[in-house]
Amino acid sequence: MPSIQLRVNGKTLTADVDPNTPLLWVLRDALGLVGTKFGCGMALCGACTVHADGDPIRACSTPVSSVADKSITTIEGLAPAPGKLHPLQQAWIDHDVPQCGYCQAGQLMSAAALLAHTPKPTDADIDTAMAGNICRCGTYQRVRAAIHSAADALARRKA
């Protein structure tokens, strides 16, 4: 089995996997990073969303070989430092967003990519950025409110 080097959450990791293996299963099975979720396997639900060089991608449909030269961030690496939370994570807790919670890693990663490009998103921006993430429990109203809260928190921090 070929060995592939990946840069994940700031660390260089090695996985012995077939290069066609989707990034999702390399993260989950080979690297033990199970925060990224399997939902559909067809890039339809967004549960597997991670960042590749800051862009949101669907790990279930991304061959690991195609991101070997990129910097991957997963939900485990979203917080800026140990013991600290990303403003979105804090907003998710404060708004009590999760129900079952299964989709929320993907929701957070899509939202984080949105705020990185669009620090003060409108509702229309949120619709566009989050449309690829299904929440079967229907927590959209709280996801939206939490994104606005986190954007406000980021703005206050910069002010």
């Binding site: 299963w25 199970v34 979203l78 009590d96 919670g101 566009t128 449309a131 229907g138």
Partner: protein, 753 residues
């Protein structure tokens, strides 16, 4: 207090039949019925090595001596350490309904603990100790309310007694609150009292004093979920996240058509594929709720197993497999609908034929709703390990208590050889009341000398669900000269697996509204045979039939030229409790509240309308008003949904509101565009491109108002869902004059805006 729905009897097998009966009737599952809070043995007490106080339920046994190792902890509901930390065990499966936060809150309230002192852990699966450990039928809160309150209250009484002894004052003069016992100016923390409390006799749990609702400090306020931090940082909480040393990864291929058997498969070829460790046929026992015949592939990774499955060639014996066809079913139902009544009477009050003949006006409609899937976002999965003479599971199940005997039976072992570890559940909606995926994992683990995690693909999850049954209703209603409802006739064309009774989730009881509220009422049934497994889907029965009833009631109100709100209140009649639990007074209160908050009767622009619906289920009285606009291209937008509910006192306001918000999204999503069809026994929808769940751009604003009456508290996972579809359809009618009689809306030419 609960709705006594007609249980969807005679399903695929006896254990499911019993399960459905329990879930739908609200009955306590049979094995646990005998468990009562025993007077003397209510609690057993142990001193921990660290001097802590452990209180554990000891059902039927007497208090046992202290165990210095603290080994009673797995049976305990709560533990208080010397440092004042309070550990509370959550006994119920967390499926997204928020029970892992709600149950500990109930204990903490009676304990008078400070919520910030509380840490929550999932309890072991042990129904002999904990009683019911299932999540279904919105029964968690009502079934466990008393048990959990007494667990907290006994602990509080012992801590107060410990303080009283320390201060040499009467216990009655002491008060508790915020993890403190107080007497005058003296205060003692629970932590400082734990060791002394552990030496005291356990008071009688059945007579221990419970708090008055007016003295509640915790319940009813806004609490965030105890697992939120772990969820937002991606910690391994779910079934699919479990890993064990040496674990292998498996897939299991069943016959796509229910009931097919394996004749042969290219096992040798599969075994030679990269990363594959083994491949073998499992005969199974032919029960969809347990183990259907199929082929297991065990590999070094999930992906290797998924890839190997693509190469799998199975020669299926489909001689006895499902040949179900939705098209044929719908065609036959449309023919049958021409008959005013079916062969099976369900309810008959007064004389419907006479009343319709003499009615000033009659209205008829034929309503069709489809099969739908649960599609929880976490696909079915389970980790199992056959070791040391037992089979151990890590399972995202909704029914861990029942799964013990079920898995034992399916695997040919005794229940004491089954150990279940409850994981967080990535969505239940009723799907994981069944433990088929778990039995499969057990059967594979029995053949393999290592822990095995079985993961279904989304396609398998869609292909092997226990669907919410589709159904057909041919209705005629009559009004008198004053515009009062005088007659209601419903010929319900439903599905059956055994020809004797409706399939699971496909029955409807005669006492359901408006069965006891119309002077002349007739409900009859015709059953069409199917093989496709069905089962409870969030608010079983109600999730579909409430749409029919509340839509048709609106049709009649419109025909009578009456205001819908007034008409609905008139049909409810005087405040009283009807057989089945519907309290018409509580119903009227929430109908009025929903209308008031939604601005019922206000003028709206063209193409915009309000729609009202009420439904009583799972002991919850819920009314909803939808505000909808429809454009010239029949694109529908649900702008706002006002939910008014009476589910008694609220435990966690955030959790209760979240359930209602989610129920509105789920209900809208489902009625808008979801349907499962089958042809030649095969499910035609394979993944989310063909099963388009609602997404962010379409979600409505949901407003929730609770009346919080003095009635006993009940669950809210389900009852807010049934009124959603009829409220929206009634609003569409108000906006456009078009009556929706077929779901999903996309089949009537509507689309999401």
């Amino acid at each position: 207090m609960n709705a006594r729905l007609q249980p969807g009897l005679a399903s695929v097998d006896e254990s499911l039949r019993q399960l459905i009966f329990d879930m739908e009737s609200g009955a306590t599952p049979a094995p646990f019925r005998a468990i009562k809070l025993d007077r003397r043995g209510f609690l057993k007490l142990t001193g921990l090595a660290g001097g802590g106080l452990v209180l554990a339920f000891s059902m039927g046994g007497k208090a046992e001596a202290a165990d210095a190792t603290g080994e009673f902890a797995p049976n305990a509901f709560l533990r208080i350490a010397r440092d004042g930390s309070v550990l509370i065990y959550n006994k119920g499966p967390e499926i997204g309904q928020g029970i892992k936060t709600a149950f500990p809150l109930i204990i903490a309230e009676e304990l008078d603990a400070k919520w910030s002192d509380v840490k929550v852990q999932q309890a072991p699966v042990n129904p002999a100790v904990y009683g019911r450990q299932s999540a279904g039928g919105s029964r968690s809160i009502p079934d466990s309310w008393d048990q959990l309150r007494r667990a907290g209250a006994v602990a509080r009484q012992m801590l107060v007694a410990a303080a009283a002894a320390q201060w040499k004052v009467p216990a009655e003069e002491c008060t508790a609150g915020e993890s403190l016992v107080m007497h005058g100016k003296r205060k003692a923390t629970y932590g400082s009292l734990a060791a002394r409390a552990a030496t005291l006799a356990v008071p009688d749990g059945s007579t221990v004093k419970l708090k008055d609702r007016k003295d509640y400090r915790l319940l009813g306020k806004w609490y965030t979920g105890v697992d939120n931090q772990a969820i937002v940082t991606g910690q391994p909480l779910f079934g699919i996240d479990q890993t064990l040393p040496g674990m292998k990864y498996a897939v299991y291929q069943r016959c796509p058509a229910t009931g097919g058997k394996v004749r042969s498969a290219n096992l040798d070829e599969i075994k030679r594929l990269p990363g594959v460790r083994d491949a073998f046929v499992i005969e199974g026992n032919g029960k969809p709720t347990e183990i259907m015949p199929g082929v297991a592939i065990v590999a070094d990774s999930t992906w290797a197993a998924f890839e190997a499955r693509k190469q799998l060639k199975v020669d299926w014996d489909e001689s006895t497999a499902s040949k179900d066809s939705w098209t044929a079913l719908a065609r036959r139902a449309a023919e049958l609908a021409k008959l005013p009544a079916g062969a099976m009477p369900v309810a008959n009050t007064g004389s419907v034929d006479d009343a319709l003949k003499s009615a000033a006006k009659t209205v008829s409609g034929f309503y069709t709703y489809p099969f739908v899937a649960h599609a929880p976002l976490e696909p079915q999965n389970c980790t199992a390990w056959s070791h040391d003479g037992i089979v151990e599971f890590w399972s995202p199940t909704q029914t861990a208590d029942r799964a013990i005997e079920l898995a034992a039976g399916a695997l040919g072992i005794t229940p004491d050889k089954v150990k279940i570890n409850q994981t967080r559940v990535g969505g239940g909606f009723g799907r994981r009341l069944m433990n088929d995926y778990m039995c499969e994992a057990g059967a594979i683990a029995q053949r393999f000398n290592a822990p095995v995690k079985v993961t279904w693909t989304r396609e398998q999850d869609m292909a092997h669900d226990f669907l919410r049954p589709g159904g057909f209703h041919s209705l005629t209603g009559g009004i008198d000269a004053q515009g009062k409802l005088v007659a209601w006739r419903n010929h319900f064309i439903t599905v059956t697996q055994d020809g004797k009774a409706p399939s699971s989730g496909a029955g409807w009881a005669g006492n359901q509204f408006p069965g006891l509220s119309v002077p002349n009422y007739q409900l009859t049934q015709t059953m069409l045979p199917i093989r496709t497994p069905t089962g409870p889907w969030r608010a079983p029965g109600s999730s579909a039939v409430a749409w029919v009833i509340q839509s048709f009631l609106h049709e009649i109100a419109v025909a009578a030229g009456r205001d819908h709100r007034d008409f609905l209140l008139e049909v409810m009649g005087e405040p009283r409790v009807l057989d089945g639990g519907l309290n018409t007074g509580r119903a009227a209160d929430v109908i009025k509240l929903a209308c008031e908050k939604a601005g019922w009767g206000r003028k709206l622009p063209e193409g915009r309308g309000l729609g009202l619906a009420f439904h009583f289920s799972h002991a919850g009285h819920i009314a909803e008003v939808a505000e909808v606009s429809v454009d010239a291209d029949q694109r529908v937008r649900l702008h706002r949904m006002v939910v008014a509910g009476d589910i008694g006192p609220i435990v966690n306001m955030s959790g209760a509101m979240n359930q209602c918000e989610g129920a509105v999204v789920d209900g809208f999503s489902t009625m808008l565009g979801l349907q499962v069809t089958m042809e030649g026994g095969l499910i035609e929808q394979s993944n989310f491109h063909q099963y388009p769940l609602l997404r962010m751009p379409q979600h409505p604003q949901v407003e929730v108002h609770f009346l919080q009456s003095e009635n006993p508290p009940t669950g809210v996972g389900e009852p807010a869902l049934p009124p959603v579809a009829p409220a929206i359809c009634n609003a569409i009618h108000a906006a456009t004059g078009k009556r929706v009689r077929t779901l999903p809306l996309t089949r009537e030419g509507f689309a999401a805006a």
